[in-house]
């Protein structure tokens, strides 16, 4: 088997806060600092699918179809949403990038198939090379990025400098 990995990048904006339900406002503030207040991010989500290339179409999967699935399953649900109020976080789990990426995995896997969905990466910011400061958080699930080129994922193209 000689699989190809196809990665598509998506963005959405959402609000969240870090707070444990059993704690007072002061305790949450002490533990999480500024993260205890409601704030938001422009998230970047990279979805990697893996498979053999279909000889008829030359594609692993129609990326327009992937776009539809991710829009229906992820973006419609989380874009411009308050993540703490999402049903999945009702029990008081904190919508960290780590928890959110696992939730998105569980939502996408039944639609894309366990064989096809390979990895998710979630940034609480834009992708690496577009940022002027280090990323706030990157959550990768379930596979680590062993080697990743320049920032891994769908690396934005830096401007070419002509000498």
């Amino acid at each position: 088997m000689s699989p190809v990995y196809a990665t598509r990048r998506f963005t959405f904006s959402a609000a969240h806060r870090y707070a444990r339900p059993g704690w007072s406002a002061a305790e949450n503030r002490r533990h999480y600092g500024g993260l205890a207040a409601v704030h938001g991010h422009n998230y970047t989500l990279e979805v990697t699918i893996r498979g053999e290339v279909d000889a008829r179409t030359g594609m692993v999967m129609d990326l327009a179809e992937l776009k539809r699935v991710v829009a229906e399953t992820v973006l419609d649900r989380f874009d411009h949403a308050y993540l703490n109020e999402d049903p999945s976080f009702e029990g008081g789990a904190i919508p960290t990038a780590e928890n959110l990426v696992r939730l998105i995995w569980e939502l996408l896997q039944p639609k894309l198939g366990a064989d096809r969905l390979w990895r998710l990466r979630l940034w609480e910011a834009r992708g690496l090379l577009r940022m002027s400061h280090p990323p706030l958080a990157i959550a990768t699930y379930p596979r680590p990025r062993v080697v990743g080129g320049l920032g891994g994922g769908a690396t934005p193209l830096p401007p070419k400098v002509d000498q």
Binding site: M1, S2, P3, V4, Y5, A6, T7, R8, R9, F10, R50, V53, A55, R56, T57, G58, M59, V60, D62, L63, A64, W118, R119, G127, R143, P144, V146, V147, G148, G149, L150, G153, A154, T155, P156, L157, K160
Partner: protein, 140 residues
Amino acid sequence: MSGPVVYLTKLVHFSAGHRLASPRLTEAENRTVYGPCYRPHGHNYGLEVTVKGEVGADGMVMDLGALEQTIQAALLDLVDHRDLDGDVPALAGTITTGENLAAAFFRMLEPRLPPGALERVALVETPNNRFEYGGEGDHP
């Protein structure tokens, strides 16, 4: 010699034209499957070439200058500012999707590098689309 195995990635760019059309599909099917990609268009492609190897006594996995020259001669000279569907003999008969290009570029580069050195080729078609190929087996 048994230095640590290190992965080294070189990023290069090229610009090329193409369209997606499968000879196995009718024109109507091609339009449905490929949408706007059925029309001739082009990209500023990014290409990441990852090699792996033990760090040698000179402190390097591979001479980056030599790697760059190899990529230039084996690939960029053939595809930069070309029509990928008509101007590149090595791609004859290939539907020039990101998937197929990543695999084709891997196969074009592999014999020009030391045995086992080429780990993976990643083709960055647009900032939102990336295609990776590493030969047999999984390359997570």
